[in-house]
Amino acid sequence: MKLNEDDLYRTSTQFRQWSFTAEQLAAQRAKTNLQATERVKLNVARQRAQRVQAAELDSTSGNSGIDGSGANTPNAVTSDKEVDCLTVTEEMTFVEEFCERTMALGAHCKFSDNVIATCVQFLRRFYLYNSPMTYHAQNISRTAMFLAGKSESEHQSLDHFATNISSEKTKVTPEQILAPEYLIVQALRFNFDVKHPFRALKGGVLDMMSIANGKYEGPNHSIHKTAADLSTAIHQLPRKTGGLAAKATSQQLADRIMRESYSPAAQTLKKTAALTDVYFLYTPSQIWLAALLLADEPLVLFYLSVKMPSTSPVYEKVIVALRECALILSSHRSHQKLHLPADEQARMDAEHRAEVKRLIKKLKLCQDPDKLDLVKLNQAQKRDAVQGSDLDVHKAKRRKMDRENFQKDSDTFWGPELPTYGAKPA
């Protein structure tokens, strides 16, 4: 009785709710961007009109300083320019930047790689259905980190976490962290489980080591029939696809697998995979194999030939998917940088930073004015709910009875209530 990993994966929320084709992703992002753009423009127009109205009122009553906060740094409402919203590409760059900052934040808070990776995926999922113009990534990322900690059994107490992420410049209150929590879990559609490729990469590499050591016992579809044959074959793999076969010593092979292949692949997964769309587009096993493919193609191709018959039509499909996934990874800035000289790297970083700076500035002038203060928004929502008479009659009745019983009991014990001086009958 063995569960098929594919079947298991197909029942996961990651597959059912969070796997897309590239076209679906693009369409959803366009939709989210459009909705947010319309809303920002509408809300800005409304608030500007309110401001004018309020200003008129104030000028008649002689009151001044209606808006103290926006005096020196104009926001979307206080600016007099037409609202210029972020494009989808700009939104993505912005979210990506905050994913990177979130990684640093997570490391600062001493969360495990697992929590950090989950948090980044929470953010990416959140911003599939929300625009950073509506909810600023700064607010959302802190809460997502707190939530990821709870979800991955690495809960840090709210107070501790708030202190941890506060700096002298920016004080973060527990209320600020909790305010968008429901917003986030709702956008995540209550799916907390994120399947990462890290453990599978470790497992795969150990599997390759067992082939190297001649102790492999798994399925074998290759031309090398015995474990010893497999071991010989893996020792003779060329370093580059199409390269010359050269016999390696066991030590060289172990170094190749554990150090030269595993380490860079693990780095790719930790950083680049998190910053691209690969979690939405590919399965965890495709992602780790693609990351390893970038590090050592002959090794991965050999491994695949052991795992499935190369005559099978699925084999070709798998290779194509891996190459596509690897291309996404290798095209990303964080991966390209690795193979460039230092000055080239510095130039890329500077370019990126300038773009981010521009976006942050631009976002200030197109941030949805209705969603600036999440704490107030959250309070208002809860209050509305109470207004909406959620205290059902049953509950109210029971509570009244509790109160009356308590009064009776305490009257018998304490004696009746003393008349209060100066109390007037209402």
């Binding site: 809303r39 709870k150 509570r399 009356e404």
Partner: protein, 411 residues
């Protein structure tokens, strides 16, 4: 009304429900402010904090919520309120709606139990695990879980109900469903950490379904620490009682063994009053562990070697088991003892348990449609679902057997 009395001058302690003054006041205040402003001006004076039209995520949530109709209240616990419900489009499709209560003691937002339960039930899809149809939040930011309708009580209720008689074949059928459920959890790298009779609910067709994933977690990375303060005491394995911080599926398997023994015994198998006593109850049956019988036991945090030779207890012989659990037969006893090996390394895994000869030897497990049941009705599920992990129904024991005193720092 009581709220308007000058509470500040009263020498009494606060009456129950007095904290309600806050929402009451908020209601009153908002009523006032609404009255002060003519409603006609609402569109233009709409404050920036009321949010405007719904987010896409909110719309999806509302659409989901409107699929279900919530009915009578079935029960209320400290952790949740359970309602009967059904699909709006088909009133014959019944569900149980578990509304997680806001926990006043937990200041850190959405409760861990709720997150765990939602997280794992969303991923686990198996006939012997309670199905989570949907999750939605209500305006007042409460989470509601729409769960499978399981009206026939639970395994603990079954063995306690003396008006029901059942056979070895029935025990085998129930036990097998339990083993399949836990095997599926472990195959998905999920530890349940609170397996016990009253978390094993029974569907209308007599299928046993594992419920309450409020303490569940994923298998930890090798070497990572987990809390040892989980699993309701009667079902807690010795390594956890000794404070072991590294464990895996085998911790759940001990609980499974206890549940099966309980079914056969129609009593709690290893009842105790305290954690310390739990250990001595276990040792009375399984003998004092030693480095020979359980390598590494001496290095566990709370391990105490026996003070002298005479304090060393020997494990009960097979004849004791035959006398105590006759309904299991020799094969059943062998399997249960395999699940209840003191050394977690020697304990049967869920997969090994499912391969045990007990399942294929006579008598064959009873077919589901022929299993005896309590016919408890919807009310019973309300009782079962409203508990949080580690709670046992009132009357099961006088003392607190609650597993849930989680030390989140040590997870």
């Amino acid at each position: 009304m009581g709220v308007s009395s000058p509470a500040a001058l009263s020498p009494r302690p606060k009456p129950p429900g007095s904290h309600l003054a806050v929402p009451d006041r908020a209601k009153a205040l908002s009523g006032l402010s609404r009255a002060a402003k003519p409603p006609a001006s609402a569109p233009i004076t709409r404050t920036p904090i009321d949010g405007g039209e719904a987010d896409m995520a909110e719309q999806m949530n509302d659409a989901l919520r409107s699929q279900f109709v919530s009915g009578a209240r079935l029960g209320e616990g400290t952790y949740a309120i359970v309602y009967a419900g059904h699909y709006r489009h088909d009133p014959t499709k019944l569900v149980a709606i578990k509304k997680i209560k806001l926990n006043a003691d937990f200041k850190d937002g959405i409760a861990m139990d709720a997150i765990r339960e939602i997280k794992y039930l969303s991923e686990l899809s198996h006939p012997n695990i309670i199905k989570l149809h949907a999750v939605f939040s209500t305006k007042d930011q409460n989470l509601s879980l729409v769960l499978e309708h399981l009206p026939l009580g639970d395994l603990e209720g079954l063995w306690k109900n003396k008006s029901i008689t059942y056979s070895s074949a029935d025990i085998k059928a129930w036990s097998n469903m339990l083993c399949q459920a836990i095997w599926f959890c472990h195959a998905n790298h999920v530890l349940h950490r609170d397996i016990k009779g009253n978390n094993l609910l029974i569907a209308a067709d007599n299928t046993v379904k594992l419920a309450d994933f409020g303490l569940a977690r994923s298998f930890a990375d090798p070497g990572a620490k987990m809390t040892s303060n989980v699993i309701t005491r009667f079902y807690r394995p010795p390594e956890l009682l000794y404070g072991c911080l590294h464990y895996a599926g085998n911790a759940d398997m001990w609980s499974v063994g206890c549940v099966i023994a309980e079914l056969a015994l129609r009593q709690f198998f290893l009842p105790s009053e305290t954690d310390l006593q739990q250990l001595s109850v276990i040792i009375d049956v399984f003998g004092t562990p030693s480095e020979e019988s359980w390598p590494g036991v001496g290095s566990l945090r709370y391990y105490q070697p026996p003070p002298n030779r005479s304090a060393v207890k020997l494990p009960q012989p097979l004849s004791w088991w035959r006398g105590r659990l006759p309904l299991l037969g020799d094969d059943g006893i062998d399997m249960v003892r395999g699940m209840l090996a003191m050394d977690p390394q020697k304990r049967l895994t869920a997969e090994q348990a499912l391969q045990h000869r007990y399942w294929t030897s006579a008598p064959r497990p009873t077919k589901k449609e022929n299993l005896p049941n309590e016919g408890g009705g919807m009310k019973k599920e309300g009782e079962d679902l409203k508990r949080k992990g580690g709670e046992t129904p009132a009357g099961a024991g006088r003392v607190d057997k609650v597993a849930r005193k989680l030390d989140f720092g040590g997870m």
